[in-house]
Amino acid sequence: MTQRSKTERFERLSAYLDHELNEAQAREVEELLSRDPDARRELGELISLKSLLSSGKGIPPSIGFWTRLSTALDRRKREEENLLPFPRKYLPAVTTVAAVLVVALGIVLFEQRENVVDYVSQQSERVQRAVEDNVLKGSILPLFSNVDKNQALRFAMFGTIPLDAKAETELRVDEDSAKWVSINVDKSGAAKAPLVTIQDFVDEVRPTRIQLQIIDSLLDLGRHKLEGSVFVAEDRAMAVHPELSRLNRDMLSGIAATLEPGQRVRFNRFLQDRKAPYTLTGGQQTPPSMDRILSRLRLPQQTDRYVVVSPETVVVAGLRIDIDSVRRHYYRVEARGHAVSVHVDGLIRRIAERDVNIAQAREFPSPKVRVFGDSEAFSIQIGSGWEGFRNPEPELWVKPRVPVASGIRRRQPIPTVDFQYSSGDSAFYFNINLDSIMIRLEKDASGAGLEFFKADPRLRNRVFEVNTGRMRHVTDSAVLAKKKQWSKLDSLMREMEKRELLQEKERRNRKTPGARQF
């Protein structure tokens, strides 16, 4: 019996069990049951499954459900009434008057349409300019949404949060030195932090109920801040709030400050047992006040300054991001998880492809923000004295237990090639990783208008740095020019591929000469 007919038989048995077959179909099934023991066994299992499901106990009745519902309904009504600047009974009259006014306004606008068109075109120019100034183009999505409190605790302890289901890509905060903290987006997920839950914390540290409530609020604030700290845009740009670089430490300080000395000892052991890279340094110091900790965990303001990394450049820009509306947009986007993952992967890949060009284009005499690129990771390093921090004083309550060796993994640099492509009277210069495609292209280069030459060794360190004072935004024209160059390269690649296929076909034909006779 084929898989398809098995599925059809199962579907029919399922409908038979539900009494949803017509008479003739039911008779057919009964005949099948009388002669086929497998069908009888399947039906028996279906009956057993159905009885398992229907025997389930429901949820206990809710006491006071109506009281809570009617309170919510009253509140809803009051809110609606408060929205109207006049008593509700006048609503029909006001609606009629409004409709008349709209029609009248329409007539006036129609008569004055030339002036209106002028005004709109002036305004749209301003809007256009504002859009051009905006470095994050297209739809903006938060990279993290619906972070749960267990993930927030794990982030506080280890500074890591996964970007995909299998934790192959993660965002990680590393304290490289006293001067630099780096935010790494790593595609290979080098060292995975162990899973930690709030229940583990409660079991081992044994906080009181009040302490747990405060810690719960801290984690709640922390996760909301985390959600509002990293955004990706359709053009593969990523905006990161610099305060993300110490968010986990602030959360950890807050938890530590909530605990009594004995509990802090247990908490320290809890951190050490799980190899968290932090240790508590409470000792004789006075814990930081809860107000100070909470003020650090407040959400980014709408106009906070973000580090924006795009395939083309790095800028620090004051972005106006309405987190709530972005989050609503996020829920509307289908397959958003996949889309965000693709954006991040694309960003990593394209940074690796283009970072040399960016380094070439800029000079950065006094950096406060640095970005390192690699084909599997990129790292944003934030200087401790960066002006974007609201509270620059160092927090001593928690300190790194083990110095973190490096922001991103050390790996052999991928060799790169520069090449020039001549077409008619124009020439294009590219610098690309020498991966398998390029090796193949190099082999086949003769006669294709390509000239390869070695990359400048000074550009191989793949480091570029930003001086906030000398940054400029990416302009549309620059993006357009890049796109043109890359589309040329794409068509070239396609041409090479076609030719290779043709050659392959010819080779195959030569090997089987008999095939030519037909």
């Binding site: 066994r41 057993s48 389930g56 429901g58 109506w66 519902l69 619906n146």
Partner: protein
């Protein structure tokens, strides 16, 4: 002496009135009618939501949202379907919204758990479960199904609705309900195999 008998109108309590009468009363502004509708259907809606999520803490909040939505939409109710089917549709849509909101979290973390859920569940079932564990295992099996299959099998096997009613609630064809149910059962049979075989 002749007595004149006058027919007294009998006051039927709201609780004894049908859904349709109560809806008409709500539409006419009768304050107590909606309360009776809520009290009549609240447990079914709460149980439906519980079956879909298996999280007692969100049941009351979501059920409340369902009834608020129903209250706001009742003035436009046109009696084209039964009240409970209509209410179920609101509940299913609300649940879908909630599930959609959670998808990202599932993408981040739950997927890895789900990858191993079949194995974990099978190892638990391999040991004879106690009565209270049985419900947990069945619920865990249900939770491992994709949303559209879970909702379909819940409406059929837990709430006992017909294919036609399920199609109306889930806004799809009857054929789709049939195949979703069949797939849901096939998946669940695989997950709960030892339990099902033992009881067959």
């Amino acid at each position: 002496m002749a007595y004149q008998t006058v027919a007294q109108p009998v006051e039927v309590p709201l609780q004894a009135k049908s859904d349709e009468v109560l809806i008409t009363l709500v539409q006419q502004g009768e304050p107590g009618a909606f309360r009776v509708l809520v009290e009549r259907h609240q447990e079914r809606i709460r149980n439906l939501i519980y079956s879909i999520f298996h999280e007692p803490e969100i049941v009351d909040d979501l059920s409340q949202e369902v009834f608020i939505k129903a209250y706001e939409a009742l003035p436009n109710f046109r009696f084209q379907s039964s009240f409970y089917t209509w209410l179920y549709r609101i509940a299913v849509n609300k649940s879908r919204d909630e599930l959609r909101k959670r998808k990202v979290r599932r993408w981040f973390s739950l997927q890895t758990l789900l990858d191993s859920s079949d194995k974990d569940l099978s190892s638990k079932i391999a040991v004879e479960p106690r009565d209270n564990e049985l419900q947990e295992l069945v619920a865990a099996g249900l939770q491992s199904l994709p949303d559209k299959y879970r909702i379909a099998i819940t409406l059929k096997d837990i709430d006992g609705l017909s294919y036609e009613e399920i199609a109306e609630i889930m806004e799809c064809e009857i054929g789709t309900v049939k195949s979703r149910l069949s797939r849901a059962r096939a998946m669940l049979r695989r997950v709960l195999e030892p339990l099902v075989k033992e009881r067959a």
